[in-house]
């Protein structure tokens, strides 16, 4: 996984609550066996108007947000389907961090698996950044994971929380499976104990 320490970049605004993963990447783009090249599907139905022309109101069609690496949005971002294609598509587009007042659980987990940092700020802090982004072209901020702070060019510092284990994995770009496999003996001990306590849990799925 790509490590994440500090990302400074242009902020793209997506001023909607409850953005579901069906919107982030519609189902027709899930028919793939790869995890790359998914930016084609990113917000595919919102980027276009019903006649197929680009929607001028959508951030990705506006020149000022072309180089954005930080997405700013509202509550419950990433709700719905568990499709990891959603963070893959965002990453493929160049998004490295997402700021919102809350995230859906599965999407939040999926981001950490892919080197995208989801940051929970207060609704007021999010509103302040929205105001600034809309009033100033190429508005840039910095997301600092080691310090757990979002830095605004005007000087505000918005602190955020993140689980220390997740943070450590992200900062070092560690392979999560490799870390778990270091606990092989603990897993084996667990299996030995449980297969005696509850042997029915260890029956094979072959009939």
């Amino acid at each position: 996984m790509q490590a994440f320490t500090t990302v400074s970049g242009i902020v793209a605004p997506l001023d909607r609550a409850d953005v579901d993963t069906d919107q982030i990447i519609p189902k027709q783009y899930l028919k793939t066996i790869a995890r790359t090249g998914l930016k084609e599907g990113l917000f595919a139905d919102w980027r276009q108007q019903s006649d197929g022309t680009p929607n001028p109101d959508f951030f990705s069609n506006q020149s000022r947000y072309q180089e954005a690496s930080i997405l700013l949005t509202r509550d419950n971002f990433g709700c719905g389907s568990s499709r990891e294609h959603a963070p893959w598509a965002l990453l493929d587009y160049g998004i490295r961090s997402i700021l919102a007042p809350s995230f859906a659980d599965i999407f939040y987990n999926n981001c950490f698996q892919n080197g995208i940092l989801p940051v929970v700020l207060t609704a007021q802090e999010i509103q302040t950044i929205f105001d600034r982004v809309l009033s100033k072209e190429t508005y840039q901020i910095t997301v600092d994971l080691p310090e757990q702070v979002v830095l605004l060019p005007e000087g505000e510092r918005y602190a955020f929380t993140v689980d220390s284990f997740r943070k450590d994995c992200m900062v070092k770009g560690l392979d999560g499976i490799g870390l778990t496999l270091k606990h092989e003996s603990a897993i084996s001990d667990y299996e030995t104990r449980r297969s005696q306590e509850a042997p029915w849990l260890f029956q094979n799925s072959t009939t």
């Binding site: 909607r16 028919k31 139905d45 719905g80 599965i106 284990f165 042997p199 094979n204 799925s205 009939t207």
Partner: protein, 467 residues
């Protein structure tokens, strides 16, 4: 150890180890696999030179992409065909049980897990699919994961998790006649909102929940994710044990007796506390219909579509207006005036035998409205077979419904079953997001009874006074 909730008991039984910050290595008992969210996970295993730790804990089935028409014709979409053949090849390579498209046991992953007895109380169950919450109906801790975590579980039989918070949703009283578990869960989502359950595992309690069959509990738990919850749970009881008994993968003989004793002990202790409590009365839950573009945009069948002009909060007013624009609905119209083009009875929410029996009752001896195209997609080959043995297929066909092969079908429209732009559908599925059933398609979520009656009438009807 003090009083514990059902969730805490299952969680504690599955802790392999804990980090100082509370991050837990959680053991996973069962892993369901389908074709859309697994190819990159198997590829990851191959690239790292890893193999599944317990291939026998997993079961794979293609469901999202499969055609629901004659399977002998194969799959016309080459990308869908490739995903399915990739799953079959991966299962062969890594020794994972696989129910192919021609297998009578094939079906929607969340229908076949319980049907085969793979889903048992007290287990931890995961799948690369958000509706894994379905299996919580058995008192199993079941939740959806992404593809990286699919790979993690294949390689280690564990997941790294932070302990969620807990919420009790208590539904006491009795449900009105003609109302169903689907109406209850839609009413719950309408009440707490689609983000109301974030970071929490819900346990459903109360006399209304206890009265539900296992199929009904599956419908209920299935849509926990639509309230944002990590998982939903119903504690096991005699109904659970009776449902599980005798299925192909259920323990047999003395082991079954031992297991069922342990399952019946799996309940929240008196005095155990939840982080949050929500209470509803069954009497206050009439049939529900969604009018908007998420499952929380829902109202009573005898209600009206909201009027944004009446909404003071600006954000909510704009969101409501946007949803009505997408749905092509006039503000303030009665729900029963909404005219339909399509009806879909199916999905992991409502495609089990009990759902089909209820729907068939409403169409028996009637005809689908001339302007409606209606279809039934059974949840599995075995559900389809049983329905045919009971003659339900003949009831549906005689009324003008199409009777299809099992799969996810028009719940997410990855196969050929798609709404065209502007088409309006009464659907027994779980998501009414924009474009979910086809770009520009308009979805109204309802119970099987409401969908069946709407197919006949051509618009929504209040089934409580509809003959």
């Amino acid at each position: 150890m003090g009083s514990q909730t059902l969730f805490e008991k299952i969680w504690n039984q599955h802790v392999v180890r804990e980090e100082p910050d509370g991050t837990t290595l959680l053991y996973i008992d069962r892993h369901l696999v389908h074709e859309v969210t697994s190819p990159q996970a198997f590829e990851g295993l191959r690239l790292a030179g890893r193999t599944p730790r317990r291939a026998g804990a997993a079961l794979a089935v293609p469901d999202h992409n499969v055609p629901t028409t004659d399977r002998k014709q194969g799959i016309s979409d080459p990308m869908s065909a490739l995903q399915i053949s990739t799953l079959e090849n991966n299962c062969a390579e890594f020794g994972i049980s696989y129910f192919g498209m021609e297998d009578i046991r094939q079906g929607i992953v969340h229908v076949i897990g319980p049907e085969q007895g793979l889903t048992l109380p007290g287990m931890t169950i995961v799948c690369g699919d958000s509706h894994t919450s379905t299996h919580g109906a058995f008192g199993a801790l079941a939740f959806g994961i992404g593809t990286s975590e699919v790979e993690h579980v294949l390689a280690t039989q564990c997941l790294v998790q932070k302990r969620p918070k807990t919420m009790e949703i208590r539904v006491e009283g009795t449900l009105p006649d003609y109302c169903s578990p689907k109406d209850v869960i839609l009413a719950i989502i309408g009440r707490i909102g689609i983000g109301g359950g974030i970071g929490q595992v819900v346990e459903y309690t109360g006399s209304v929940i206890r009265s539900f069959s296992m199929e009904g509990r599956m419908t209920l738990c299935n849509m926990s994710i639509e309230a944002g919850a990590r998982a939903g749970l119903v504690s096991p009881d005699e109904k659970t044990v009776a449902y599980v008994k005798g299925r192909p993968l259920t323990p047999k003989g003395e082991m079954f007796e031992q297991a069922s004793q342990a399952w019946l002990d799996l309940k929240t202790d008196q005095g155990a506390t939840f982080d949050n409590l929500v209470e509803l009365r069954g009497e206050n839950i009439p049939p529900q219909v969604t009018w908007g573009t998420n499952p929380g945009m829902v109202t009573d069948v005898n209600g009206t579509v909201p009027n944004p002009a009446d909404i003071a909060d600006e954000k909510l007013r704009l969101a409501t207006q946007r949803a009505l624009d997408y749905m092509g609905l006039q503000p303030g119209i009665p729900v029963c005036d909404i005219q339909l083009d399509r009806v879909f009875i199916g999905s992991c929410t409502n495609s089990r035998i009990e759902d089909l029996r209820v729907a068939a009752k409403y169409v028996q001896g009637k005809r689908v409205s001339g302007k409606v195209k209606a279809m039934v997609v059974p949840g599995s080959g075995l559900v389809k077979q049983q329905a045919e043995e009971e003659g339900l297929d003949r009831v549906f066909r005689a009324a003008g419904f199409e009777w299809r092969e099992p799969g996810c079908s028009m719940c997410l429209a990855m196969n050929a079953d798609v709404l065209t732009p502007g088409e309006r559908c009464a659907s027994t599925s779980n998501r009414n997001f924009e474009g979910r059933q086809g770009k520009g398609g308009r979805t109204h979520l309802v119970s099987p009874a409401m969908a069946a009656a709407a197919a006949v009438a051509g618009h929504f009807v209040d089934i409580r006074d509809w003959a």
